[in-house]
């Protein structure tokens, strides 16, 4: 059955793919970062269409901040003044095309062969969803989330430490 929900799902899915494609088809880091943001927002809208309100709003909120931070960090590391420089958004073209094709085939294969079970017709309201999600994060999945959080924090500190030009004290 084709419902409005399904049509929106297809449209925003295609929008997400289109902007994902645009990320690599531009020669500017700002355009690339904001295309990725648009792609992520489209995924957030997919969550909203599937009535996972919290996940949708969270995705849209987090990606706005994350992609902006990513843009500024990309520019700082690449010494690109103000993001006005031109550079290719891909390298090793043949290998990356091959990797892209293989991963796409694997993902589509996994999506088609997985038994997704019956489609849920009954689901809790947004308030109950928030509560259940909180319970999930603080009980069963706590270890995973904490590990991910600490890993990201370590990554951030390490990348800043690597980028700092600290004068070596041995040098006299």
């Amino acid at each position: 059955m084709i419902s409005l929900q399904l049509i929106l799902l297809i449209i925003f899915g295609l929008v997400a793919i289109w902007f994902g494609w645009r990320v690599f088809m531009t020669s500017s880091m700002v355009r690339s970062a904001l295309s990725l943001l648009a792609s992520m927002v489209a995924i957030g809208i997919l969550f909203l269409v599937m009535e996972a309100e919290f996940l949708g709003v969270l995705q849209i909120m987090m990606m706005g901040t994350e992609m902006s931070i990513m843009a500024i960090f990309m520019m700082m590391y690449m010494m690109d003044p103000g993001g006005l420089g031109q550079m290719d958004m891909y390298h090793q073209k043949n290998i990356s095309i091959a990797a892209g094709v293989i991963v796409t085939v694997l993902i589509v294969g996994a999506a088609l062969t997985t038994d997704w079970g019956t489609i849920a017709t009954q689901f809790p309201g947004p308030h109950e969803q928030n509560r259940l999600l909180g319970m999930e994060i603080l009980k069963r999945s706590m270890m995973i989330f904490e590990t991910a959080g600490v890993t990201i924090l370590t990554g951030m500190i390490a990348s800043i430490a690597v980028a700092l030009s600290i004068k070596n004290s041995v040098e006299k």
């Binding site: 700002v30 919290f54 909120m61 706005g64 103000g82 969803q129």
Partner: protein, 300 residues
């Protein structure tokens, strides 16, 4: 009230509120109250020639002003003006406020970068640094109000303040939210992205006509929306004796907006590095302390 009447009243109150905010903004710059001033500026910008800079990025240049005002309008639609006067009562309302504020930063960055001018570009990156920094205390202060209400519905957050308003229950959170939202509206002590004095107008330096109008109008609407958010989260929302509920929200919102502009008038602009330093070194730890304090009080 019927939904139509609700929308109508909210719209009317909002428009008048934004106009008063425009008068106050003018006062914060010139020190004189001029009731016709905003209308004159409006007509001027409306009729002004639209100058486009050379080699601007068309997509960003056209999208950014619409995105700016669009996210603010989305925020208005979820704020409760009375017990039943809310356009969309969202199950994740508190989070949604912050989600919308993030896109103000994105639109400022987009337009600053798109016009292909040096002042605008510097302004855009400044806006990014400033708004990323100050959205952290905002979301943490929001978390503490959600903890007390045990719900992200904004109506529930107002109901949770029945006995004691959040301004007294979590004063640290209120102060952080108040200052950080002032930074997010980039009003004078924090107006580094659009500072006339030191950056020749920053992000808005090269904008004229309708685009500038959208940004100016958007910022005023933003100030009023943020003030309404402060009222809903910390000042008991629609609660108050005698008057109808939406009147209380409106009056409190005007008062908060007036306090914002009073700060604008009497505070000097903060240096950019100090601005970021204060937030990351003191604002964020204080916000974490606020969550801890509210958590302890809730468990006692």
């Amino acid at each position: 009230m019927t939904p139509f009447l609700t929308v109508f009243i909210i719209t009317l109150l909002f428009l008048s509120g934004v106009y008063v905010a425009a008068v106050m903004e003018r006062w914060s710059v010139t020190g004189t109250v001029n009731w016709a001033g905003p209308m004159r500026s409006f007509l001027l910008l409306f009729a002004q020639e639209e100058i486009k800079t050379r080699k601007h990025d068309k997509v960003f240049f056209e999208t950014a002003p619409v995105l700016f005002i669009g996210v603010i309008l989305l925020t208005i639609s979820i704020l409760p003006f009375g017990r039943d006067s809310v356009i969309i009562d969202l199950g994740t309302g508190a989070l949604f406020i912050n989600a919308a504020l993030v896109y103000i930063m994105v639109s400022l960055l987009m337009v600053g970068w798109a016009v292909n001018g040096v002042y605008a570009m510097v302004g855009g990156w400044r806006a990014l640094a400033q708004l990323i920094a100050y959205s952290m205390p905002v979301v943490m202060a929001l978390t503490a109000t959600v903890m007390r209400a045990e719900s992200m519905f904004l109506t529930d957050i107002v109901e949770s303040q029945q006995g004691l308003w959040n301004i007294l229950y979590q004063p640290v959170g209120f102060i952080l939210f108040y200052i950080s939202t002032l930074a997010i509206t980039f009003l004078p002590p924090f107006n580094l992205p659009v500072a006339k004095g030191e950056l020749a107008g920053g992000v808005w330096a090269d904008l004229t006509g309708a685009r500038k109008l959208l940004f100016r109008l958007g910022r005023l609407t933003l100030v009023f929306t943020i003030s309404a958010a402060v009222v809903v989260l910390y000042l008991g929302g629609w609660m108050g004796p005698w008057l109808p509920d939406f009147a209380w929200t409106f009056l409190k919102t005007l008062l908060v907006a007036a306090s914002f502009f009073a700060i604008c008038r009497f505070m000097p602009r903060i240096r950019h590095d100090h601005l970021l330093e204060y937030n990351w070194k003191y604002g964020v730890p204080l916000a974490l302390y606020n969550i801890f304090q509210v958590g302890v009080v809730l468990l006692l």
